[in-house]
């Protein structure tokens, strides 16, 4: 639109007869309109708040919340502050989002590859899965999962045993977990160290291969380190073996670690719904790699496995990753539907807080800023990825 050069036109700053002058007038009018609208809304809000005797401000965050939260990783009791209650909500949102993303990606890749299978039966089943899940609203699916979890599953006194000591009932899913001891801390440290070793080794090997053209042997040492160091740490910490095992009592299942039926319903609903979209992304990503690439790779003598690993997947990933991240964000945003089935995520805790103290404006600003922060962080990470993955064309 030929912006260059226009700035050189001399004349009055706001003139109707030059293009840049008209642009400035338009911007001034727009600014005034935005400002007027903002001031109008601000004034209305102030008047309304005064009339309802609501004290605006974030001071309420330090007051005790007074309501209980059913579950969460963040230790919380009703005497804690609103701020802490919101933190517990953010913790629950992130927990269900992280589990959901892992499960949805896993299912989505399987179904997406299945839709391209040469086996017609597999293809039809995967297509049916995608079509059904994508064409029914998520909230309908969540209600159905939730009612299924709380109505169809057996009472807690007679749970289904999915695996030894893994129980599923109306109270949720209970499974054994190791009792925390020093040895587990050492094991975690060993795992981190082992992964670092493996990464450093593969980096060195890659550099060497690029310099000499030969692939160094001994890469399995890295894997060995990643596997052996945690075990070494566990043994060094006294090899703790105590497990917290759930047992069936006369009334319910006690002990072990449990997740509530709300969490289960939300997790399964979000993961299956999103996996249908991920399957489509995976499918179109694989289809986006031109067949000539496969043929060229085969002509070079690469094995079928090598063709997939070295030629098809890296190129498909470049197409898949951007929409995949936006599906991850969608899943995180959709986890706010937790409010409909009573899982205490950020939005439902904010909802409770609003009903209790009427600080709607502040609570909604808080929710929105949490989601916008998550979005912004993902967008920044994606920017870095895109710069690294962008095709360098000659």
């Amino acid at each position: 639109m030929g912006r260059a050069g226009e700035t050189r036109v001399r004349g009055p700053l706001f003139s109707w007869s030059t293009r840049s002058g008209r642009a400035r007038i338009a911007q001034a009018v727009l600014l005034a309109a935005l400002f007027a609208a903002g001031a109008w809304l601000w004034n209305n809000t102030r008047a309304n708040l005064a009339a309802r005797q609501i004290h605006s401000g974030f001071g309420f965050l330090r007051e005790p919340a007074g309501f209980a939260i059913g579950e969460g990783l963040v230790p919380y009791s009703p005497t804690d502050s609103y701020l802490w209650a919101f933190a517990a909500g953010v913790g629950n949102t992130l927990r269900v989002a992280a589990c959901g993303i892992a499960l949805a990606t896993f299912l989505g890749i399987i179904v997406g590859v299945g839709r391209l299978s040469r086996n017609a039966l597999v293809r039809w089943l995967c297509t049916g899965y995608v079509e059904v899940l994508r064409n029914v609203p998520l909230i309908v699916q969540l209600f159905a999962w939730y009612l299924a979890a709380t109505e169809i599953l057996p009472e807690a006194a007679s749970p289904v045993e999915l695996a030894p000591h893994v129980y599923l009932s109306k109270e949720g899913l209970q499974f054994p977990t190791p009792v925390w001891a020093r040895g587990w801390g050492f094991a975690l440290a060993g795992l981190g160290l082992g992964i670092l070793c493996a990464l450093a080794l593969s980096r060195w090997a890659r550099g060497r291969r690029e310099r000499t053209g030969r692939r160094p042997r001994g890469l399995w040492l890295g894997l060995l380190a990643a596997a052996a160091l945690p075990i070494a740490g566990w043994v060094a910490g006294g090899a703790p073996r105590a497990l917290d095992v759930p047992e069936v009592t006369a009334f319910n299942v006690s002990g072990g670690t449990g997740v509530t039926p709300e969490f289960l319903a939300l997790l399964i609903g979000l993961a299956t719904f999103t996996s249908a979209y991920i399957a489509e992304i995976v499918r179109s990503g694989i289809l986006a790699v031109p067949h000539g690439q496969t043929e060229a790779a085969e002509a070079l003598g690469l094995s079928r496995h090598q063709v997939l690993r070295l030629v098809v997947f890296p190129q498909a990933l470049r197409v898949i990753i951007p929409p995949l991240t936006s599906q991850f964000l969608n899943l995180t945003k959709n986890s706010s539907l937790a409010v409909a089935i009573g899982f205490p995520d950020l939005v439902s805790i904010a909802n409770t807080a609003i009903n209790q103290n009427g600080q709607a404006l502040e609570c909604i600003v808080l929710i929105m800023s949490v989601y916008l922060t998550i979005n912004l962080a993902t967008a920044l990470a994606m920017g870095v990825y895109n710069r690294r993955a962008a095709l360098v064309e000659r």
Partner: protein
């Protein structure tokens, strides 16, 4: 060489039929179900599973099910088969919510009117100038039928509207109102005015970054605070506004996609024949860009249709909310699965129809969009 041994080299012009083993159902089975050992194993395992599951599913869903609204018969089934009696008993509550029972022909007529109008609109042959005023009339008749208060129809408060007509209303009005806002935002985002660009981008990214539920919360909790003291909007209007503002941000991105697909030359040519910026947008750029994104509009309509189900969270009784109302009856509560299957079928058929239509449209308009000069930047 076997060919030489057979002696007869086919004439170069006579096309040879494919070998018999590459034709017919046998070849199809071999290629698609028994191509290799893993494929054959997968086929056999899946077929075995289907043989076990499918008859049981058909028995549960169809043959053993109870269809009459007979509670005793449903109880006697003990969940071994579906009780469609729940749907038979409650279908008017599920479809029309709390709308006065005697007047429920009105939401039925209104919904049918809109569905027929949508079917007519779906065909590109009806894309004429009269379509816009026709839709204004249709929406007015829809609202008149629902709300009454004239022509001898009794007045029905919007608070009582519910079920499928409410879903249709929220979808259509949200969609229709968000298109103009979306166009303004999209053009603003590509404007050469930095302030317009920044304001549009900020709005679009902020709205797209938050879940629809928070926007509905804003509509139900914050809108009353933002308006002047005397002015009160009922909850339906506020929710429609919330959906509109939310959908507008997505619509803006759809329109922007169309604007970006148009070659710059279109704009430059329009300016060089002496059109002003506004004329170029209105007469050259937008008509082409909007035609390009019609299939995406249909997809937006589909996602708005599904998104409207969230209004049940702010206590409105759309199709999903009305089902929950029906399930509030403790006697029938246990047959929730049948109820959810029923509304899932309603959503599924509508959405499948829309997405198939969008694909068909894309194919049909594709012949226009694929013209070599149309999409080259």
């Amino acid at each position: 060489m076997p060919l030489a041994a057979e002696g007869a080299t086919p004439a170069p012009d006579s096309p040879r039929a494919p070998p018999r083993c590459a034709r017919g159902p046998g070849a199809w089975l071999r290629a698609n179900l028994f191509a290799n050992v893993p494929s054959a194993v997968a086929t056999l395992l899946l077929a075995a599973a289907l043989v076990r599951v499918l008859p049981a599913a058909v028995r549960w869903l169809v043959t053993d099910a109870v269809y009459s609204p007979d509670y005793a018969a449903c109880r006697a089934l003990d969940y071994r088969a579906a009780c469609w009696g729940f749907v038979a008993q409650k279908y008017r509550l599920i479809l029309f919510g709390r709308y006065p029972y005697a007047d429920q022909w009105r939401p039925l007529a209104a919904t049918l009117l809109v569905v027929v109008a949508l079917l007519v609109t779906a065909h590109p042959r009806s894309w004429r100038r009269w379509l816009w005023p026709a839709w204004v009339v249709i929406l007015a008749v829809f609202l008149l039928l629902m709300g009454g208060g004239a022509f001898g129809l009794s007045r029905v408060e919007p608070g009582l509207w519910g079920g499928l007509p409410l879903t249709v209303l929220l979808t259509l009005v949200g969609m229709a109102a968000s298109i103009p806002i979306g166009i303004v935002l999209a053009v603003g985002r590509r404007s050469h005015l930095p302030l317009a660009r920044a304001a549009s981008a900020l709005y679009i990214e902020m709205v797209r970054g938050v879940p629809l539920i928070t926007v509905l919360f804003v509509a139900s909790f914050v809108f009353p605070l933002l308006l002047p003291m005397g002015l009160r909007l009922d909850v339906l209007t506020r929710v429609v506004l919330g959906i509109t503002f939310f959908q507008a941000a997505y619509m803006a991105e759809v329109v922007r996609g169309g604007l970006q697909a148009l070659p710059r030359g279109q704009y430059e040519a329009a300016i060089s024949v002496g059109l002003t910026w506004w004329q170029a947008q209105r007469k050259v750029i937008l008509p082409q860009a909007l035609t390009l994104v019609i299939p995406s509009f249909v997809n937006s309509l589909l996602s708005t249709f599904m998104d409207t189900s969230l209004v049940t969270v702010v206590s409105m009784y759309d199709l999903t909310g009305a089902l929950r109302l029906a399930l509030g009856d403790p006697q029938w509560r246990h047959f929730f699965l049948e109820g959810y299957l029923f509304i899932a079928a309603v959503y599924f058929t509508s959405c499948l129809a829309m997405s198939r239509y969008s694909a068909w449209l894309e194919h049909r308009l594709g012949s226009w969009a694929r013209r070599p000069e149309a999409l080259r930047a």
